[in-house]
């Protein structure tokens, strides 16, 4: 195919009459998913944005108040704490949790014997229902002398620790729990990416005398850098929206030390039945996350492009 031929090739228009008739069956098959997507993704999103500009009674609209709900939530005495805490969760999750699945995936990829057992073992925490995981960890973090972790550290001659009761450590400890619960699933994604690396590169590097660390540095990491970047942004987006963990482990305490934006949104909606302010917090979070999400889409597209080459 000549360059001239390539340049005149047009992108097919999906909604072109002829094309549509040709793809009618496909459209028909997609219709249930499309409707589900509209009802369960777009409808709540648009309703939420809509409600955030209104005074509400329950979920019913009372009157348009413009940015009144936004003003209410931003001037609320807990907003700054919730915003800063959400950022702190994200930061700690990158410090504690970002490298763990990459390391685990690389190690699993290197293991030859009983690989299946290790894969299962690492993935096992991801199979436990979230609430059960967080309640179990809250129990382990019990600050009493007989608390699980305090019993362990007492055998090492250390004094009992306050764990979640210590406001400066609360978020970090919650992030440890989140990492434990989630690293297995993320490691599987990295493993899938690792298995796509051309094995000949490793063989060639071995012949050239490259060791384990050099192979990781010059072959593995460059080859999975796209997915690493993608997962980094995904992690920022996900962790910034943390809610279930502080809700079930600390209730946002002590003294707002673990309150997050989404937990604040939950409290508005469920504890105080204030749908408008709750939605306003959701929209603010959405706007903040729009930046990393845009990056995510660009990278995702780039990744797909590079995979297609």
């Amino acid at each position: 195919m000549s360059l001239a031929q390539i340049s005149v090739r047009k992108k097919p228009n999906l909604f072109d009459g002829n094309h549509f008739r040709k793809d009618l069956v496909a459209w028909f098959l997609m219709l249930p998913s499309l409707l589900m997507f509209l009802f369960f993704t777009w409808q709540p999103l648009i309703s939420g944005i809509f409600l955030s500009f209104f005074k509400t009674r329950g979920y019913s609209v009372v009157e348009f108040i413009g940015l009144g709900n936004y003003q209410e939530v931003i001037t609320n005495s807990s907003f700054n704490a919730a915003l800063m805490n959400s950022a702190t969760y994200t930061l700690w999750s990158l410090v504690i949790g970002f490298a763990v699945p990459i390391i685990v995936a690389i190690l699993l990829n290197e293991i030859v014997h009983i690989n299946g057992f290790f894969k299962f073992s690492f993935y096992f925490p991801s199979m436990i229902p979230g609430i059960a995981t967080y309640l179990m960890w809250a129990f382990m973090y019990n600050p009493a002398k007989w608390g699980v972790l305090n019993t362990i550290i007492s055998h090492l001659g250390l004094q009992p620790f306050g764990w979640l009761n210590m406001p400066h450590y609360t978020i970090m400890l919650i992030v440890v729990t989140m990492t434990w619960a989630g690293f297995g699933g993320t490691a599987l994604i990295y493993m899938a990416s690792l298995q796509g690396i051309n094995q000949e590169l490793y063989e060639a590097s071995s012949l050239d005398g490259a060791g384990f660390v050099q192979r990781i540095r010059y072959i593995t990491l460059p080859n999975i850098s796209g997915i690493i970047l993608l997962m980094l942004i995904m992690q920022i987006i996900t962790v910034f929206q943390v809610m279930i963990q502080p809700l079930s482990m600390t209730g946002g305490g002590p003294n707002d030390a673990s309150l997050s934006l989404m937990l604040q949104s939950y409290l508005y909606a469920f504890n105080y039945v204030k749908a408008g302010p709750s939605m306003a917090v959701g929209v603010i979070t959405f706007l903040i996350l729009l930046i990393p999400t845009s990056f995510y889409f660009v990278l995702s597209k780039k990744n797909q492009g590079s995979e297609g080459q």
Partner: protein, 460 residues
């Protein structure tokens, strides 16, 4: 079909579903009334299930009302979705603390007319009526009501040598005594002497009892405006007392994130000796007994202690409310149903029969029958008949409940405005003084009062 048409259709779907949440649902009126009843007993209570089924039949045969069971029990996390989706049972349970929130959001029907028609409003305890009313209208029927008391773990009191000749705990009469008693228990048993709930708004809720007894006024109206007043010297003294329990007497549990359930866990598993709690017929201590296996004979309860400015105890309890779309016929049918369940002012043979089943279930389940709840209705003959029946099933040493049953404290209802928000703010200051030995109660309360004023009261 063209591109424009597809896009138009998809947009229509989104728009219609977006704006459809506010549409009212029409209620079909017919001869037979249908009543969906929430908080239906589950299979693990066969005797109650059988009684409810019997009453279902009575409702159908006698009143032409079809009662449909629904297992929904009120919970903060599930109420809003149920209410917003219009799927609340016609008759659902809730708590006294939730009435204002539910009414303000339009999720309960006004039942003043049917209550007056049935004559129930005349028999209501005047202390309870304001808790179920808003602007002169009645929105709920009380299921049971209680006064907060001081629950004691008898075993820990015994181990600490703090029981009288009859084995009854020497419970504190003042908050000063409470701290000293708790200290003795802590020193002699290693368990926490006193358990103060601190989380999920329970901290603020329970702190009220202490603060009122220290003379704290939380909210006051000045020139038509509500003012947060709890950063007073009295409020500071009450918070200082809580701080002292942690850092001076060292009698509180290690965890500073205790809520309603975890507070009870500490007491029921012998890790704590005293807790603000309440007794009611058919429910009081069931959660502790069923989940943490504390024996009913290890439980006693007393009137709350007195502070420097009085002896106050908060009222609480459960209620029945009607879905906002309930018709007059459904509300009247609901009152008939509650009458069968024994939640009415009168005490008929049918009610007596149901109460006998309930007491038998309590006794079989080794639950406490002995603690007295607050009287909801004022009909003396009915109260006497209920007491007589109850006395036949008492299964605990009444000496352990005497002080609570005779209640020595002045009863107080919740603060008038935005209690849940107030409790949340107080949770924070309590958590702050319990996690930081150097925390300044005055500075914390000043900040909390300013926050509560700005975030909540100024917007009333």
């Amino acid at each position: 079909m063209s591109k424009k048409l597809i896009i138009l259709l998809l947009c229509l779907v989104v728009i219609i579903s977006t704006f459809s949440f506010n549409f009212a649902t029409a209620t079909a009126a017919g001869k037979k009334v249908t009543l969906v009843v929430g908080d239906w007993p589950r299979e693990n209570e066969p005797a109650r299930v059988a009684t409810f089924k019997k009453y279902q039949k009575i409702m159908l045969d006698k009143y032409n009302v079809e009662v449909i069971p629904d297992y929904y029990q009120y919970a903060v996390s599930s109420f809003l979705p149920k209410a917003a989706a219009g799927t609340l049972p016609t008759l659902y349970n809730s708590w006294f603390t939730e009435v204002r929130k539910i009414v303000e959001n339009g999720y309960a029907a006004d039942i003043t007319g049917p209550m007056k028609k049935a004559g129930w409003h005349k028999s209501l305890n005047p202390q309870i009526l304001p808790l179920i009313s808003d602007q002169g209208k009645i929105y709920a029927v009380p299921k049971y009501a209680y006064v907060q008391g001081l629950e004691c773990n008898i075993q820990l009191f015994k181990t600490a040598g703090l029981v009288d000749a009859g084995g009854v705990p020497k419970a504190p009469k003042t908050y000063e005594e409470l701290a000293e008693t708790a200290k003795i228990i802590k020193d002699k048993t290693g368990a926490a002497g006193f358990i103060l709930e601190t989380n999920n708004n329970c901290g603020g809720w329970h702190f009220m009892n202490i603060a009122w007894s220290f003379g704290t006024v939380f909210e006051k109206k000045e020139g038509g405006k509500w003012i947060a007043a709890f950063n007073s010297p009295e409020g500071v003294a009450a918070l200082q007392y809580v701080r002292d329990l942690k850092w001076k007497y060292k009698v509180l549990p290690d965890s500073t994130l205790l809520d309603w359930a975890s507070g009870q866990q500490v007491l029921a598993t012998n890790q704590g000796a005293m807790l603000f709690f309440n007794a009611t017929d058919h429910d009081g201590f069931n959660f502790q007994i069923d989940n943490y296996k504390i024996s009913k004979d290890n439980i006693s309860i007393f009137s709350l202690p007195a502070g420097p400015k009085g002896r106050y105890a908060q009222i609480g309890g459960d209620i029945w409310m009607f879905a906002p779309n309930a018709t007059k016929a459904q509300i009247e049918a609901g009152l008939k149903w509650l009458e069968l369940l024994g939640k009415a002012p009168q005490f008929t043979d049918e009610i007596k029969e149901n109460e006998i089943t309930n007491y038998k279930t309590d006794v079989a389940g080794k639950h406490v029958v002995g603690g007295k709840e607050l009287q909801i209705w004022t009909d003396k003959a009915a109260i006497k008949a209920r007491d007589e029946l109850r006395s036949k099933y008492i299964n605990v040493n009444l000496g352990m409940f005497k002080d609570y049953n005779e209640n020595k404290a002045t009863l107080k209802s919740e603060e008038p405005v935005a209690c849940q928000e107030l409790y949340k703010e107080l949770d924070k200051v309590i958590q702050a003084v319990l996690t930081d030995a150097n925390a300044d109660p005055k500075a914390l309360l000043d900040k909390a009062a300013a926050n509560f004023q700005k975030d909540v009261l100024d917007k009333q």
